[in-house]
Each structure stands twice: as C-alpha cells, then as structure tokens.
C-alpha cells in the first residue's frame, strides 16, 4: 500500500503538519497566555495530535498485518524472501500470491480466529518482540535457522480452516481429504505437515527436530 492511497495516513500527516505549525509558531513568538492563545494551543496540543494519534494508530495496526512488517526483523528475512519469491512452491508463497490477502499472508495464516483473535495474536506478537530483543537480535540467520522451530503443524489446523472449511464438496472430493477428515478436524493430523501439504516454510527446524547449533 502506498502512503497516499490510505485516507488514514493522509489524515495523520495532515493533523501532524497543522499541529506542528501551531506549535512552532508558539515556540517562535511565545505570545502571552490569553484566551486566543489557549484556543490555538488546545488545537495544537489536544485536538490535532489526538486526531493524528487516532488515525496513526489505526494505520499502524493495519501496517502490522503486512508481510513487509513481519519481515522487518532479520530472523524473518528468509520467510519473507520465500513469500516474495514468485517461483517458490511453499505454502507460504502460494498464499502470498493470492490477490485477496497476499500482502497480509503472514497475519492471515497465523492470526487466531474468534472474537479475541486479534488481541491474542497481538499479544503473541509482543512475545516475539521480547524474544527478539532478549535472544535473537544479535544472532545470525544461520543460528536462527537452527534454533527457531516451527509451531507444531498439528496444532494449527484451526488457522487453515478459517478459509478452508473442510465442508466444501470439492474439497471433500479429494480422496486424501476424505480419509483424513476426522483427524484434520480434531488436530490429530496437520494440514501443513510432511506427507500432506508439507511445512508452510521451507526453512528452520521442523517440529520435534533437535537443535544442531549450541548456544
């Protein structure tokens, strides 16, 4: 999404610019605190910054769904590269090519479903930021590849089934789907596991695989 295609971004920039003009004029001229000064400062310190914060925060939350955001920590660089690769056949990359949500494919697949799904997902994201700050920030990608492991695919079928409901007749026509349906719905067999659709990402340790690089 380009900057000027978002009304929220334009609103944030407009409010911030107007507020900054008022504040700089006050700092330069330092007028006495009469009624008119108070009204101008109410605009510059209250109304316009609140408008900028409101639109900026919503725009910021929207930005956190983008793949570019997820890929901006170096430990995610390989995942982002793979998703961006039009020739890759990984599940992540195939979902990235979807015109409906391709630029938000990380969030679409990893976000939890339900009323509090967004909050739970954002809380999980803060945990990732904490781990990044305390453990992985100074580590190489080679280290990360060996020490970050994928979430157990068997526990993630609910995320796949947000879109692939398993109730579509076309889906059920596939013999393997038909045979594994009870296990799929009960999270006993992962959609993104070896033997089914394969791991969603081609890098990092598979679930259960031991670390090969010591800390």
């Amino acid at each position: 999404m380009t900057l000027l295609s978002s009304p929220l971004a334009i609103m944030e920039l407009g409010c911030a610019a107007l507020s900054a003009i008022i504040l700089v004029v006050y700092l330069v001229f330092r007028p006495p605190l009469v009624h008119a000064t108070k009204v101008w400062l109410l605009m510059g310190l209250g109304v316009l910054p609140i408008g900028a914060a409101f639109s900026g925060n919503i725009q910021g939350f929207e930005a956190t769904k983008e793949r570019a955001f997820c890929g901006s920590c170096h430990v995610m660089a390989l995942h982002a590269q793979d998703s961006n690769d039009p020739t890759s056949g990984s599940l992540a990359s195939r979902h990235a090519r979807n015109a409906m949500f391709g630029s938000e494919n990380c969030y679409s697949c990893h976000a939890d479903y339900g009323m509090f799904g967004t909050i739970v997902t954002k809380a999980g994201g803060l945990r990732h930021v904490w781990l990044y700050l305390t453990e992985y920030r100074t580590k190489s990608v080679a280290y990360d590849k060996q020490n970050i492991h994928l979430l157990d695919a068997d526990k993630m079928n609910g995320n796949c089934m947000q879109c692939h409901s398993t109730r579509d007749p076309l889906w059920q026509k596939v013999p393997d789907h038909k045979a594994s349906l009870p296990d799929d719905r009960a999270d006993r067999l992962g959609c993104a596991s070896e033997g089914c659709h394969g791991l969603a990402h081609p890098f990092f340790r598979a679930p259960g695989e031991e670390r090969t690089v010591q800390r």
């Binding site: 920039l13 400062l41 310190l45």
Partner: protein, 80 residues
C-alpha cells in the same frame, strides 16, 4: 504560577508534542517493527504528557484568575 513558569511548562509541552508527532509520522512513513512499536509506546506517552501539561497550565491560570477576582471584589460576603 508565574508567567515565566507558565511559559516554561508550555515550551516543554510543545517540544514533547512535536516529538510525539514526529514519532507518529515516522510509523506512517516507515511501517516496520521499531517505528510502529516506538510510536505506539513512547509517542503516546509524550503526546499524553504534553496535553496533560497544557491542561495543568490552563487550570493553574484559571485558579489564579479566580483568586485574583475574589481578592479584588469589594463586595462583602453575605451571610444568612
């Protein structure tokens, strides 16, 4: 609060608000992890602090004016 003190508070409020606006704009221009995290934490704190400082100055000014009005009012207080 003296006029000099009022001015100092307002200058601090303006500088804090400019910092907050800069952080909030940074997250729009560069929507990656650190700009967004900093804008949504430090940016909010600075912005709220600047508005609170402004509110404090206005309230102090109002109270000072009110006290001055009461002190200069020659009418005696009516008691029933």
């Amino acid at each position: 609060m003296t006029p000099r003190r009022v001015r100092q508070w307002l200058v601090v409020a303006c500088v804090c608000a400019l910092g907050a606006l800069a952080l909030m704009t940074w997250q729009i221009i560069d929507p990656t992890v650190w700009p967004v995290m900093v804008a949504m934490s430090l940016g909010q704190v600075l912005g709220t602090a600047s508005f609170a400082a402004f509110g404090y100055v206005v309230l102090a000014d109002y109270r000072a004016r009110h006290r001055a009005d009461v002190a200069s009012d020659p009418r005696p207080i009516e008691r029933h």
